[in-house]
């Protein structure tokens, strides 16, 4: 009987005996407590009625759009500016309808999208490499850590005159500025993620036997993913802005991008067309943002972080 002596030695009783001893908890007790503790969280997650949730986030947006259009219409009717400079909303909407079916439209979108993706992907590669290097090597951080933040806050359009001198009026000039606009944010996202890996995780990693590269592969890089994704999102925003600025300034012959078509519209005083493009660029921006948010939310759900 185990009551004879205090069992200082291990494994004196087989597990089944231990389970039945007074004071030892039963499997049922453990499972029961688990079930009780999980029940409350399950009820919480069921609260969200999907349809209502969608509507509650949609109607304020619709209302905001309606208000903007109404204000625009009022401004138009007040004849603050002549109609050729400030057209009526309906004129612009008619023009959008005409624009999207024209052959120029898909071509312009394709050219611009291709530039944006190339620039962004290149920025991701460069930003990630620089970020990883800066996070890993202390002297490098001292040397260029604040430079990266400085670059990030700089409006990338000021690089264009120089980029044109370096690369002439070319795709490369645009690419250069897009990359220099986006890469710092991406690098900073990664650096921030690496810096803020919770110290306990690092200790656990060391206890588990992670060293050097394996520490990066199994712990630091996955742990910095949320910060990296917000860096990507910000990097995209900078890339997109730089690209729009670039396309308006650097018009490469034969490339009917969004920017060059806009410049064309301005030369013909085609205000409805300009506004059409502005609205389309806005919508594109929102669509890409939705993609990034979906990625971010999927990650947050998996990790059990607060939903944004």
């Amino acid at each position: 009987m185990p009551s004879e002596t205090p069992t200082t030695g291990p494994a004196l009783a087989d597990p089944d005996t231990a389970r039945r001893q007074p004071g030892g908890s039963t499997a049922d007790e453990v499972t029961g407590l688990d079930a009780l503790e999980l029940a409350s969280t399950r009820a919480d997650s069921r609260v969200a009625d999907v349809g209502r949730a969608v509507w509650s986030t949609t109607w304020p947006k619709l209302l905001a759009i309606a208000l903007v259009i109404a204000a625009w219409q009022v401004l138009y009717l007040s004849e603050w500016k002549p109609p050729f400079a400030l057209p009526a909303p309906m004129t612009v909407f008619d023009d959008i309808r005409e624009l999207v079916v024209s052959p120029d439209f898909p071509r312009a979108i394709a050219i611009t999208a291709q530039r944006a993706l190339t620039g962004f992907l290149l920025a991701v590669v460069i930003g990630t490499l620089i970020g990883a290097a800066v996070a890993r090597f202390r002297p490098l951080r001292a040397a260029i850590g604040s430079l990266i933040t400085g670059l990030q806050t700089m409006p990338s359009i000021i690089w264009f005159p120089f980029a044109i001198l370096l690369f002439q009026i070319s795709e490369t000039a645009i690419l250069f500025v897009v990359v220099i606009g986006a890469a710092p944010s991406i690098a900073n996202g990664l650096i921030g993620g690496i810096d803020y890996v919770p110290p306990t995780w690092l200790r656990v990693g060391k206890v588990l036997g992670m060293r050097g590269l394996s520490l990066y592969r199994f712990l630091i890089l996955p742990a910095s993913l949320p910060s990296f994704i917000s860096g990507l999102k910000q990097g995209w925003a900078f890339a997109w802005r730089s690209l729009m600025a670039g396309e308006l300034l650097v018009i490469v012959a034969g490339q009917g991008s969004i920017g060059s078509l806009m410049q064309g519209a301005r030369e013909f005083n085609n205000a409805p067309r300009l506004l059409s493009w502005i609205i389309i660029v806005l919508v594109l921006g929102i669509l890409v943002d939705i993609l990034f948010n979906a990625a971010d939310n999927a990650l947050r759900r998996r990790w059990g972080l607060q939903q944004s």
Partner: protein, 264 residues
């Protein structure tokens, strides 16, 4: 010396039984010169294989520091640490599970680092989850579990290292009393089943008496061993039994005397 280096000593064969863990005059100071803070002062302690030892002390007694030294997370400033061929793992107050991995993959991670194949990893993880009574939770994410369940996953993850010396740094400190009570039973069961050697840090006197074969009382600033209490009560004990409460009262008095010493 790193944790791995020392762990390897005992990893030679599966049949060998580890010797006692011996700490000889272990000191730890933070900082240098006159501003140096002495956290641990010549702590000597021997833990027999299979023994469950609780380290007890008020805040600032360096009990967590001592565990970090034994785990090899920090270097000691002086003295010797001999693990006697034990393989070490450690648990913390936070479960610190990795949120990007499922429960099963969290348990698997130590095996993954050792290059164990996927199938084998999965099987062993399932067995370990059964040990901590979380059968069927392998595909969940850590955030879907309660605090007590997460701490059990952390235990399974530590066991997956094939460690026979488990260092526990207030692992149940953040749990409610009922959950803690049940986890004490569970830990005791697993300790017996697996012949573990446990070094358990807590500031909860009753918890120490409930679990330990011995309770080691540390002084604060610097941390020194001031007294040792063998716990004679047969297992399993109940944390609310009169015997546990009696010894806990004695230890608490001693601890209070130690704390009030710092008032002067």
């Amino acid at each position: 010396m790193s944790l791995l280096d020392r762990g390897v000593v005992g990893a030679a064969g599966s049949g060998d039984t580890p010797g006692p863990v011996r700490l000889g005059g272990v000191s730890k100071a933070y900082g240098r010169g006159r501003s140096a803070l002495l956290a641990l002062d010549r702590v000597s302690l021997t833990v027999e294989p299979g023994e469950f030892v609780c380290l007890l002390g008020a805040s600032g007694c360096g009990k967590s520091t001592l565990l970090s030294l034994v785990a090899g997370l920090d270097p000691a400033s002086g003295g010797t640490i001999d693990l006697g061929g034990h393989r070490v793992s450690m648990m913390f107050q936070e479960p610190a599970l990795f949120p990007w991995l499922t429960v099963s993959r969290n348990v698997e991670i130590a095996m993954r680092l050792r290059g164990v194949g996927r199938e084998q990893r999965r099987e062993r993880a399932a067995a370990l989850l059964e040990t901590v009574r979380l059968t069927g939770f392998g595909r969940k994410r850590p955030h879907e579990l309660s605090g007590g369940m997460r701490q059990r996953v952390a235990l399974a993850r530590a066991l997956a290292q094939d460690a026979d010396l488990l260092l526990m740094d207030e692992p149940f400190g953040a749990l409610d009393a009922m959950t803690r009570d049940i986890l004490h039973d569970e830990l005791e069961r697993i300790w017996r089943e697996r012949s573990l050697t446990v070094l358990f840090v807590t500031h909860n006197v009753r918890e120490a008496v409930r679990l330990g074969d011995r309770v080691i009382l540390l002084s604060s600033r610097p941390g020194r061993i001031i007294e040792e209490f063998p716990v004679e009560q047969p297992r399993p004990r109940r944390i609310d039994s009169p015997e546990v409460a009696g010894l806990a009262a004695t230890i608490t008095d001693r601890l209070r005397a130690e704390v009030s010493r710092h008032a002067q």
